[in-house]
Amino acid sequence: MSEHEHDHDHAHDPITSDGEPPAAARTRALEELLVEKGVVQREDVRRGIDHLVSRSPADGARLVARAWVDRDFKERLLADARAAAHELGLDPGPSPVVVAVENTETVHHMVVCTLCSCYPRALLGPPPDWYKSLPYRSRAVSDPHGVLAEFGLEIDNDVELRVLDSTADVRYLVLPRRPEGSEELTESELADLVTRDSMIGVAEPVAPAPA
């Protein structure tokens, strides 16, 4: 810890970040209190966590692959991603509005939540640690090209880079461009090319193996 100003004696223990992180301690204390007061059961908490971590980017990838092979579905996905997810039997999660945005030859989208870690968890699973990190959250808006370069993605000068900051109730999912050379692939083979990062907009989908 750095030096800090004092107007008191040191009656307390040193304030350090050793051991349990403050947020974890606060969460544990809150959970204990809620259980003690009978607001929630420990089993509810465990089940909720299990549900959150059971989700994966595979569901989002199914939406993308279907949109790549079915133009009408793509239009419905871009108009209302929640309804499109239901159409494929997927759970779009509790967010009232899920918006899919399409990357094209002229526009590239990337998603950030500068205020916390808003993310379409039901369709993509838990967000990666870097998505929740302060450097990503601040630099995605102030230096998006620099961030993308660190992910290995260069955006051409004639492409509009559009950063989506999900500050409120809307969750955003990027519909990446279908890779060249994927014309012969089946829908499920296409879904295998769609990575989590490509649906956040910090990467392109995986290139198909040469035929």
């Binding site: 009232p96 509005v97 500068t114 205020l115 808006v141 102030s142 559009r162 950063v163 989506l164 109730d169």
Partner: protein, 92 residues
């Protein structure tokens, strides 16, 4: 609903005590309403145990990168889209 897509707006530059969902980097900045997202419970009161009613209209507002970060090196056409509640927006 006060604003329509295409309307020019400015984000209020006021400070706010307590939880709110308007990031500092857009306060006082000018943008354009891109879409009306719907009406949602107000997070500023909901964060403190209230019901968040009345709901507030939420807008997606488009900002030019040059407006948000003037003078820095970036591509002229780059944009940032931020979801902002109506009571933080003023007609420009």
């Amino acid at each position: 609903m006060t604003f329509q897509p295409g309307d020019r707006v400015r984000v209020a530059s006021r400070a706010h005590q307590g939880h709110h969902r308007t990031p500092s980097y857009v306060k006082g900045k000018r943008g354009r309403v891109e879409r009306v997202c719907g009406s949602f419970a107000n997070p500023e009161t909901r964060a403190f145990g209230a019901d968040g009613l009345p709901e507030q209209v939420l807008y997606q507002v488009c900002f030019a990168q040059e407006e948000l970060w003037p003078g820095s090196r970036r591509h002229a056409r780059d944009t940032t889209y931020v979801d902002i509640f109506e009571h933080w927006l003023e007609a420009e």
